[in-house]
Amino acid sequence: MRNVRPETGGFFQRDRTWQPPAFTPGYKTSVMRSPQRAPVSFPHTLSETTGPVFGHHILGERDNDLTLNFAKPGESAIGPRIIVYGRVLDERGAGVSNVLLEFWQANAGGRYRHKKDGYLAPLDPNFGGCGRTITDANGNYFFRTIMPGAYPWPNGINDWRPAHIHFSLFGHGFVQRLITQMYFDGDPMIWQCPIVATIPERRAIEGLIAALDMQATVPMDARAYKFDIVLRGRHSTLFENRMEGN
Protein backbone atom coordinates (compact mmCIF):
# COMPACT_ATOMS: atom_id res chain seq x y z
CA MET A 1 0.00 0.00 0.00
CA ARG A 2 1.14 3.54 -0.72
CA ASN A 3 2.16 5.58 2.22
CA VAL A 4 0.16 8.76 1.70
CA ARG A 5 -0.36 11.47 4.23
CA PRO A 6 -3.96 11.26 5.44
CA GLU A 7 -6.27 14.03 4.29
CA THR A 8 -7.58 16.23 7.04
CA GLY A 9 -9.65 18.92 5.28
CA GLY A 10 -13.36 19.52 5.73
CA PHE A 11 -15.91 18.13 3.28
CA PHE A 12 -17.83 19.90 0.51
CA GLN A 13 -21.20 21.22 1.54
CA ARG A 14 -23.93 18.67 0.89
CA ASP A 15 -26.28 19.68 -1.94
CA ARG A 16 -29.65 19.44 -0.24
CA THR A 17 -31.51 20.24 -3.47
CA TRP A 18 -30.00 17.08 -5.00
CA GLN A 19 -30.53 14.83 -1.99
CA PRO A 20 -34.10 13.80 -1.08
CA PRO A 21 -35.79 16.17 1.39
CA ALA A 22 -36.94 14.74 4.74
CA PHE A 23 -40.66 15.36 4.16
CA THR A 24 -41.88 13.37 1.13
CA PRO A 25 -45.61 12.62 1.58
CA GLY A 26 -45.64 10.14 -1.36
CA TYR A 27 -43.55 7.95 0.96
CA LYS A 28 -45.98 7.97 3.85
CA THR A 29 -43.64 6.89 6.66
CA SER A 30 -41.58 10.04 6.13
CA VAL A 31 -44.49 12.24 7.24
CA MET A 32 -44.11 11.51 10.99
CA ARG A 33 -40.35 10.94 10.85
CA SER A 34 -39.17 14.10 9.11
CA PRO A 35 -37.66 16.95 11.12
CA GLN A 36 -39.50 20.18 10.38
CA ARG A 37 -36.95 22.76 11.45
CA ALA A 38 -33.97 23.83 9.41
CA PRO A 39 -30.85 21.79 10.20
CA VAL A 40 -28.01 23.84 11.73
CA SER A 41 -24.62 24.22 10.03
CA PHE A 42 -21.19 24.81 11.53
CA PRO A 43 -17.61 24.47 10.21
CA HIS A 44 -16.31 20.92 10.21
CA THR A 45 -14.34 19.94 13.29
CA LEU A 46 -12.40 16.77 13.98
CA SER A 47 -15.71 15.20 15.03
CA GLU A 48 -16.83 15.47 11.40
CA THR A 49 -13.57 15.03 9.44
CA THR A 50 -12.44 11.89 11.22
CA GLY A 51 -14.15 8.52 10.99
CA PRO A 52 -13.69 4.87 11.88
CA VAL A 53 -11.49 2.63 9.75
CA PHE A 54 -12.12 -1.01 9.03
CA GLY A 55 -9.22 -3.21 8.04
CA HIS A 56 -9.44 -5.96 5.46
CA HIS A 57 -8.84 -8.39 8.35
CA ILE A 58 -12.50 -8.15 9.39
CA LEU A 59 -13.56 -9.77 6.12
CA GLY A 60 -14.31 -13.46 5.85
CA GLU A 61 -13.61 -15.34 2.63
CA ARG A 62 -17.26 -15.46 1.57
CA ASP A 63 -18.38 -12.06 2.86
CA ASN A 64 -18.60 -10.76 -0.72
CA ASP A 65 -20.41 -13.80 -2.11
CA LEU A 66 -24.11 -13.81 -1.22
CA THR A 67 -24.69 -16.91 -3.34
CA LEU A 68 -22.60 -18.92 -0.86
CA ASN A 69 -22.24 -17.09 2.45
CA PHE A 70 -25.48 -18.46 3.93
CA ALA A 71 -25.71 -21.63 1.84
CA LYS A 72 -25.26 -25.20 3.03
CA PRO A 73 -22.00 -26.79 1.86
CA GLY A 74 -22.27 -27.70 -1.81
CA GLU A 75 -25.44 -25.65 -2.35
CA SER A 76 -26.05 -22.06 -3.42
CA ALA A 77 -28.77 -19.43 -3.50
CA ILE A 78 -31.51 -19.62 -6.13
CA GLY A 79 -31.81 -16.89 -8.76
CA PRO A 80 -30.03 -15.30 -11.70
CA ARG A 81 -26.37 -15.11 -10.77
CA ILE A 82 -24.83 -11.64 -11.01
CA ILE A 83 -21.64 -9.78 -10.19
CA VAL A 84 -21.89 -6.19 -8.99
CA TYR A 85 -18.72 -4.16 -9.35
CA GLY A 86 -17.68 -0.54 -9.50
CA ARG A 87 -15.70 2.20 -7.87
CA VAL A 88 -16.28 4.41 -4.89
CA LEU A 89 -15.28 7.93 -5.88
CA ASP A 90 -15.52 11.27 -4.19
CA GLU A 91 -16.92 14.45 -5.74
CA ARG A 92 -13.42 15.33 -6.97
CA GLY A 93 -13.41 12.12 -9.05
CA ALA A 94 -10.74 10.43 -6.93
CA GLY A 95 -11.13 6.78 -5.94
CA VAL A 96 -11.74 6.31 -2.21
CA SER A 97 -9.71 3.50 -0.66
CA ASN A 98 -10.62 1.37 2.35
CA VAL A 99 -14.34 2.11 2.17
CA LEU A 100 -16.39 -0.49 4.03
CA LEU A 101 -19.38 -1.37 1.84
CA GLU A 102 -22.21 -3.39 3.33
CA PHE A 103 -25.13 -4.56 1.21
CA TRP A 104 -28.41 -6.32 1.81
CA GLN A 105 -31.26 -7.45 -0.38
CA ALA A 106 -34.35 -9.61 -0.84
CA ASN A 107 -34.06 -13.07 -2.39
CA ALA A 108 -34.95 -13.86 -6.01
CA GLY A 109 -38.65 -13.99 -5.08
CA GLY A 110 -38.60 -10.58 -3.37
CA ARG A 111 -38.63 -11.91 0.21
CA TYR A 112 -36.29 -10.72 2.98
CA ARG A 113 -34.93 -12.98 5.67
CA HIS A 114 -36.41 -10.78 8.42
CA LYS A 115 -39.01 -11.52 11.06
CA LYS A 116 -41.01 -8.46 10.01
CA ASP A 117 -41.24 -9.44 6.33
CA GLY A 118 -44.52 -11.34 5.87
CA TYR A 119 -44.60 -11.36 2.05
CA LEU A 120 -45.97 -14.69 0.83
CA ALA A 121 -43.01 -15.34 -1.49
CA PRO A 122 -40.93 -18.18 -0.02
CA LEU A 123 -37.62 -17.90 1.81
CA ASP A 124 -34.63 -19.46 0.08
CA PRO A 125 -32.94 -21.72 2.66
CA ASN A 126 -29.58 -20.96 1.05
CA PHE A 127 -29.87 -17.18 1.00
CA GLY A 128 -29.26 -14.84 3.94
CA GLY A 129 -29.16 -11.56 2.04
CA CYS A 130 -26.17 -9.70 3.50
CA GLY A 131 -22.61 -9.17 2.35
CA ARG A 132 -19.71 -6.77 2.72
CA THR A 133 -16.38 -5.81 1.21
CA ILE A 134 -13.74 -3.06 1.43
CA THR A 135 -12.48 -1.02 -1.53
CA ASP A 136 -8.91 -1.45 -2.75
CA ALA A 137 -6.33 1.36 -3.02
CA ASN A 138 -8.11 2.77 -6.12
CA GLY A 139 -11.64 2.55 -4.76
CA ASN A 140 -12.64 -0.65 -6.62
CA TYR A 141 -14.99 -3.24 -5.17
CA PHE A 142 -17.03 -6.23 -6.35
CA PHE A 143 -19.32 -8.91 -5.01
CA ARG A 144 -21.39 -11.84 -6.21
CA THR A 145 -25.06 -12.28 -5.55
CA ILE A 146 -28.36 -13.22 -7.16
CA MET A 147 -30.77 -10.82 -8.81
CA PRO A 148 -33.25 -9.71 -6.12
CA GLY A 149 -36.98 -9.82 -6.89
CA ALA A 150 -39.40 -6.89 -6.84
CA TYR A 151 -41.78 -6.90 -3.87
CA PRO A 152 -45.01 -5.22 -2.75
CA TRP A 153 -45.01 -2.98 0.32
CA PRO A 154 -47.63 -1.18 2.37
CA ASN A 155 -47.75 2.46 1.26
CA GLY A 156 -50.39 2.94 -1.42
CA ILE A 157 -52.69 -0.04 -1.99
CA ASN A 158 -50.53 -1.32 -4.84
CA ASP A 159 -46.97 -0.03 -4.43
CA TRP A 160 -44.07 -2.26 -5.43
CA ARG A 161 -40.36 -1.77 -4.94
CA PRO A 162 -38.24 -2.22 -8.07
CA ALA A 163 -35.50 -4.83 -7.77
CA HIS A 164 -32.79 -3.20 -5.64
CA ILE A 165 -29.78 -3.77 -3.42
CA HIS A 166 -29.30 -1.64 -0.29
CA PHE A 167 -25.79 -0.18 0.17
CA SER A 168 -24.10 1.33 3.23
CA LEU A 169 -20.74 3.11 2.86
CA PHE A 170 -18.09 4.45 5.22
CA GLY A 171 -15.82 7.07 3.69
CA HIS A 172 -12.94 8.62 5.60
CA GLY A 173 -14.98 11.12 7.62
CA PHE A 174 -18.09 10.43 9.69
CA VAL A 175 -20.05 13.02 7.64
CA GLN A 176 -19.31 11.07 4.44
CA ARG A 177 -21.50 8.26 5.74
CA LEU A 178 -24.08 7.23 3.16
CA ILE A 179 -26.87 4.70 2.77
CA THR A 180 -28.46 4.28 -0.64
CA GLN A 181 -29.96 1.70 -3.01
CA MET A 182 -28.87 0.32 -6.35
CA TYR A 183 -31.40 -0.28 -9.13
CA PHE A 184 -31.09 -2.28 -12.35
CA ASP A 185 -30.72 -1.09 -15.94
CA GLY A 186 -34.00 -1.28 -17.86
CA ASP A 187 -36.37 -1.91 -14.93
CA PRO A 188 -39.69 -0.10 -15.62
CA MET A 189 -40.64 -0.35 -11.90
CA ILE A 190 -38.01 2.26 -10.97
CA TRP A 191 -40.19 5.07 -12.30
CA GLN A 192 -43.26 3.89 -10.35
CA CYS A 193 -41.62 3.75 -6.93
CA PRO A 194 -42.51 6.32 -4.22
CA ILE A 195 -39.15 5.77 -2.49
CA VAL A 196 -37.21 6.43 -5.70
CA ALA A 197 -39.47 9.46 -6.23
CA THR A 198 -38.23 11.06 -2.99
CA ILE A 199 -35.18 12.07 -5.08
CA PRO A 200 -36.02 15.38 -6.76
CA GLU A 201 -33.84 15.21 -9.89
CA ARG A 202 -34.02 12.60 -12.62
CA ARG A 203 -30.24 12.75 -13.07
CA ALA A 204 -29.73 11.87 -9.42
CA ILE A 205 -32.02 8.84 -9.83
CA GLU A 206 -30.15 7.76 -12.95
CA GLY A 207 -26.98 7.83 -10.84
CA LEU A 208 -28.44 4.95 -8.78
CA ILE A 209 -29.15 2.68 -11.77
CA ALA A 210 -26.43 0.12 -12.41
CA ALA A 211 -25.49 -0.55 -16.03
CA LEU A 212 -25.49 -4.08 -17.47
CA ASP A 213 -21.89 -4.71 -18.57
CA MET A 214 -21.59 -7.71 -20.87
CA GLN A 215 -17.82 -7.18 -21.11
CA ALA A 216 -17.42 -7.87 -17.39
CA THR A 217 -19.70 -10.89 -17.51
CA VAL A 218 -18.22 -14.26 -16.55
CA PRO A 219 -19.29 -16.54 -19.44
CA MET A 220 -21.50 -19.50 -18.43
CA ASP A 221 -21.60 -18.12 -14.86
CA ALA A 222 -22.83 -14.61 -14.07
CA ARG A 223 -23.78 -11.34 -15.75
CA ALA A 224 -22.17 -8.15 -14.45
CA TYR A 225 -23.63 -4.81 -13.38
CA LYS A 226 -21.44 -1.75 -12.92
CA PHE A 227 -22.37 0.54 -10.03
CA ASP A 228 -20.16 3.50 -9.14
CA ILE A 229 -20.93 5.40 -5.95
CA VAL A 230 -19.90 8.98 -5.18
CA LEU A 231 -19.16 10.17 -1.64
CA ARG A 232 -18.73 13.79 -0.59
CA GLY A 233 -15.56 15.53 -1.75
CA ARG A 234 -12.97 16.94 0.59
CA HIS A 235 -11.31 20.34 0.63
CA SER A 236 -7.65 20.05 -0.18
CA THR A 237 -5.37 20.61 2.78
CA LEU A 238 -3.21 22.61 0.35
CA PHE A 239 -5.55 25.58 0.71
CA GLU A 240 -6.50 24.98 4.30
CA ASN A 241 -6.52 27.98 6.54
CA ARG A 242 -4.85 26.44 9.53
CA MET A 243 -5.96 28.29 12.58
CA GLU A 244 -4.06 28.04 15.76
CA GLY A 245 -4.93 25.00 17.81
CA ASN A 246 -6.17 23.03 14.83
Binding site: D63, C130, I195, G245
Partner: protein, 204 residues
Protein backbone atom coordinates in the same frame (compact mmCIF):
# COMPACT_ATOMS: atom_id res chain seq x y z
CA UNK B 1 -17.42 29.54 -21.91
CA UNK B 2 -15.02 28.55 -19.15
CA UNK B 3 -13.27 25.31 -18.30
CA UNK B 4 -15.40 22.64 -16.68
CA UNK B 5 -14.80 21.84 -13.02
CA UNK B 6 -15.77 18.20 -13.66
CA UNK B 7 -16.98 17.67 -10.15
CA UNK B 8 -19.17 14.63 -9.57
CA UNK B 9 -22.37 14.81 -7.55
CA UNK B 10 -22.71 12.82 -4.33
CA UNK B 11 -24.84 9.71 -4.90
CA UNK B 12 -28.42 10.31 -3.81
CA UNK B 13 -29.35 8.84 -0.44
CA UNK B 14 -32.20 6.36 -0.05
CA UNK B 15 -33.88 5.19 3.14
CA UNK B 16 -32.27 2.30 5.03
CA UNK B 17 -35.76 0.75 5.06
CA UNK B 18 -37.33 -1.62 7.58
CA UNK B 19 -34.80 -4.42 7.01
CA UNK B 20 -31.61 -2.48 7.75
CA UNK B 21 -30.71 -5.16 10.33
CA UNK B 22 -30.07 -7.72 7.60
CA UNK B 23 -27.21 -5.65 6.26
CA UNK B 24 -25.82 -3.85 9.29
CA UNK B 25 -26.62 -6.00 12.34
CA UNK B 26 -27.44 -9.43 10.88
CA UNK B 27 -26.82 -11.33 14.11
CA UNK B 28 -29.23 -9.02 15.95
CA UNK B 29 -31.68 -9.56 13.09
CA UNK B 30 -31.52 -13.34 13.39
CA UNK B 31 -29.11 -14.07 10.52
CA UNK B 32 -26.37 -16.05 12.20
CA UNK B 33 -23.31 -17.72 10.78
CA UNK B 34 -22.43 -15.14 8.13
CA UNK B 35 -20.35 -12.77 10.31
CA UNK B 36 -18.85 -13.79 13.68
CA UNK B 37 -20.40 -10.73 15.38
CA UNK B 38 -22.15 -7.48 14.49
CA UNK B 39 -19.78 -4.56 13.87
CA UNK B 40 -19.86 -1.80 16.47
CA UNK B 41 -21.78 -3.80 19.08
CA UNK B 42 -18.99 -3.53 21.68
CA UNK B 43 -17.02 -0.29 21.42
CA UNK B 44 -15.32 -0.70 24.81
CA UNK B 45 -13.27 -3.56 26.19
CA UNK B 46 -11.80 -4.14 29.65
CA UNK B 47 -8.64 -2.19 28.74
CA UNK B 48 -10.33 0.95 27.37
CA UNK B 49 -9.22 4.01 29.34
CA UNK B 50 -11.76 6.44 30.73
CA UNK B 51 -14.96 6.67 32.74
CA UNK B 52 -17.45 3.96 31.76
CA UNK B 53 -20.89 5.31 31.05
CA UNK B 54 -24.22 3.83 30.01
CA UNK B 55 -26.39 5.66 27.49
CA UNK B 56 -30.14 5.02 27.19
CA UNK B 57 -31.64 6.43 24.05
CA UNK B 58 -34.97 6.47 22.28
CA UNK B 59 -35.89 7.96 18.91
CA UNK B 60 -39.40 9.34 18.99
CA UNK B 61 -41.59 10.22 15.98
CA UNK B 62 -43.99 13.14 15.58
CA UNK B 63 -46.82 11.15 17.22
CA UNK B 64 -44.71 10.45 20.33
CA UNK B 65 -44.08 6.82 19.42
CA UNK B 66 -40.54 5.41 19.80
CA UNK B 67 -39.12 3.99 16.57
CA UNK B 68 -38.62 0.23 16.78
CA UNK B 69 -36.80 -0.13 13.49
CA UNK B 70 -34.14 2.60 13.72
CA UNK B 71 -30.38 2.24 13.78
CA UNK B 72 -27.99 4.68 15.44
CA UNK B 73 -24.25 4.99 14.93
CA UNK B 74 -22.04 6.86 17.38
CA UNK B 75 -18.62 8.42 16.82
CA UNK B 76 -16.60 9.94 19.62
CA UNK B 77 -13.15 10.80 20.86
CA UNK B 78 -11.34 8.74 23.48
CA UNK B 79 -10.94 9.87 27.10
CA UNK B 80 -8.06 12.19 26.08
CA UNK B 81 -10.04 13.82 23.26
CA UNK B 82 -8.31 11.93 20.41
CA UNK B 83 -10.09 10.21 17.54
CA UNK B 84 -9.10 6.71 16.46
CA UNK B 85 -8.83 7.69 12.79
CA UNK B 86 -6.08 8.25 10.17
CA UNK B 87 -7.27 11.89 9.89
CA UNK B 88 -6.38 12.44 13.56
CA UNK B 89 -2.98 14.10 13.41
CA UNK B 90 -2.65 15.39 16.99
CA UNK B 91 -1.62 12.09 18.50
CA UNK B 92 -2.49 8.42 18.80
CA UNK B 93 -5.83 7.47 20.28
CA UNK B 94 -6.38 4.69 22.81
CA UNK B 95 -5.89 1.48 20.77
CA UNK B 96 -8.51 -0.20 22.95
CA UNK B 97 -11.23 2.19 21.85
CA UNK B 98 -12.40 2.32 18.26
CA UNK B 99 -14.68 5.29 19.01
CA UNK B 100 -17.47 3.99 16.83
CA UNK B 101 -20.58 2.03 17.76
CA UNK B 102 -23.67 0.79 15.99
CA UNK B 103 -26.96 0.16 17.80
CA UNK B 104 -30.32 -1.04 16.53
CA UNK B 105 -33.47 -0.05 18.46
CA UNK B 106 -34.95 -2.95 20.42
CA UNK B 107 -37.68 -4.34 18.18
CA UNK B 108 -40.32 -4.47 20.96
CA UNK B 109 -39.58 -1.32 23.03
CA UNK B 110 -37.55 0.97 20.77
CA UNK B 111 -34.91 1.34 23.52
CA UNK B 112 -31.25 1.68 22.68
CA UNK B 113 -28.83 1.01 25.53
CA UNK B 114 -25.06 0.97 25.17
CA UNK B 115 -21.90 1.25 27.17
CA UNK B 116 -19.08 3.56 26.20
CA UNK B 117 -16.66 5.96 27.86
CA UNK B 118 -17.04 9.66 28.47
CA UNK B 119 -15.14 11.39 25.64
CA UNK B 120 -12.49 14.05 26.21
CA UNK B 121 -12.69 17.55 24.76
CA UNK B 122 -11.86 18.26 21.13
CA UNK B 123 -11.02 21.68 19.63
CA UNK B 124 -13.22 23.67 17.27
CA UNK B 125 -11.33 24.92 14.13
CA UNK B 126 -10.55 28.24 15.87
CA UNK B 127 -8.91 26.48 18.82
CA UNK B 128 -11.68 26.90 21.39
CA UNK B 129 -12.47 23.64 23.12
CA UNK B 130 -15.78 21.91 22.49
CA UNK B 131 -17.59 20.26 25.38
CA UNK B 132 -17.49 16.45 25.52
CA UNK B 133 -19.96 15.08 22.99
CA UNK B 134 -20.84 11.99 20.99
CA UNK B 135 -21.72 12.45 17.31
CA UNK B 136 -24.77 10.46 16.26
CA UNK B 137 -26.11 9.36 12.88
CA UNK B 138 -29.63 8.00 12.64
CA UNK B 139 -31.21 5.97 9.86
CA UNK B 140 -34.58 4.20 9.64
CA UNK B 141 -37.54 3.47 7.44
CA UNK B 142 -39.07 6.85 6.55
CA UNK B 143 -35.77 8.73 6.91
CA UNK B 144 -34.55 9.59 3.41
CA UNK B 145 -31.14 10.96 4.40
CA UNK B 146 -29.36 9.93 7.61
CA UNK B 147 -29.85 12.49 10.41
CA UNK B 148 -26.81 13.95 12.19
CA UNK B 149 -26.92 15.24 15.74
CA UNK B 150 -24.76 15.31 18.88
CA UNK B 151 -25.25 14.19 22.44
CA UNK B 152 -23.76 16.39 25.18
CA UNK B 153 -23.73 15.68 28.93
CA UNK B 154 -25.84 17.41 31.62
CA UNK B 155 -23.01 17.30 34.20
CA UNK B 156 -20.63 19.29 31.97
CA UNK B 157 -22.34 22.63 32.58
CA UNK B 158 -19.21 24.80 32.36
CA UNK B 159 -17.95 23.15 29.18
CA UNK B 160 -21.41 23.19 27.61
CA UNK B 161 -21.79 26.91 28.34
CA UNK B 162 -18.69 27.69 26.26
CA UNK B 163 -19.16 25.06 23.56
CA UNK B 164 -18.75 26.71 20.12
CA UNK B 165 -21.55 24.63 18.55
CA UNK B 166 -24.07 24.99 21.38
CA UNK B 167 -23.46 28.71 21.76
CA UNK B 168 -23.98 29.41 18.06
CA UNK B 169 -27.54 28.03 18.05
CA UNK B 170 -29.88 30.89 17.27
CA UNK B 171 -32.67 29.44 19.42
CA UNK B 172 -30.94 28.89 22.75
CA UNK B 173 -34.07 27.21 24.17
CA UNK B 174 -33.26 24.30 21.84
CA UNK B 175 -29.84 23.60 23.42
CA UNK B 176 -31.54 21.30 25.92
CA UNK B 177 -32.54 18.95 23.08
CA UNK B 178 -28.84 18.08 22.70
CA UNK B 179 -28.10 17.35 26.35
CA UNK B 180 -28.44 13.90 27.89
CA UNK B 181 -29.56 14.03 31.50
CA UNK B 182 -27.86 11.94 34.15
CA UNK B 183 -30.30 9.52 35.73
CA UNK B 184 -28.60 7.33 38.34
CA UNK B 185 -25.76 5.54 36.57
CA UNK B 186 -26.95 6.30 33.04
CA UNK B 187 -27.32 9.18 30.63
CA UNK B 188 -30.81 9.36 29.18
CA UNK B 189 -31.25 10.93 25.76
CA UNK B 190 -34.48 11.09 23.77
CA UNK B 191 -34.21 12.17 20.16
CA UNK B 192 -37.42 13.76 18.90
CA UNK B 193 -37.80 13.78 15.14
CA UNK B 194 -40.62 16.35 15.21
CA UNK B 195 -42.79 18.53 17.41
CA UNK B 196 -42.19 21.01 20.25
CA UNK B 197 -39.19 19.03 21.50
CA UNK B 198 -37.68 18.45 18.05
CA UNK B 199 -33.97 17.68 18.46
CA UNK B 200 -31.50 19.98 16.74
CA UNK B 201 -30.17 18.19 13.66
CA UNK B 202 -27.10 19.35 11.79
CA UNK B 203 -26.45 20.10 8.14
CA UNK B 204 -22.75 19.33 8.22
Amino acid sequence: MVQELRRLKESASQTAGPYVHIGLTPNFGGIEGVYPHDLGAQPVNEKTKGERITVKMRIVDGAGTPLKDALVESWQADAEGLYNSPSETRGTADPNFQGWGRYPSEMDTGEIVFETIKPGRVPFPDGRMMAPHISLWIVARGINLGLATRMYFSDEETANAEDPVLTRLEHQNRVSTLIARRDGGAYVFDIHLQGDKETVFFDI
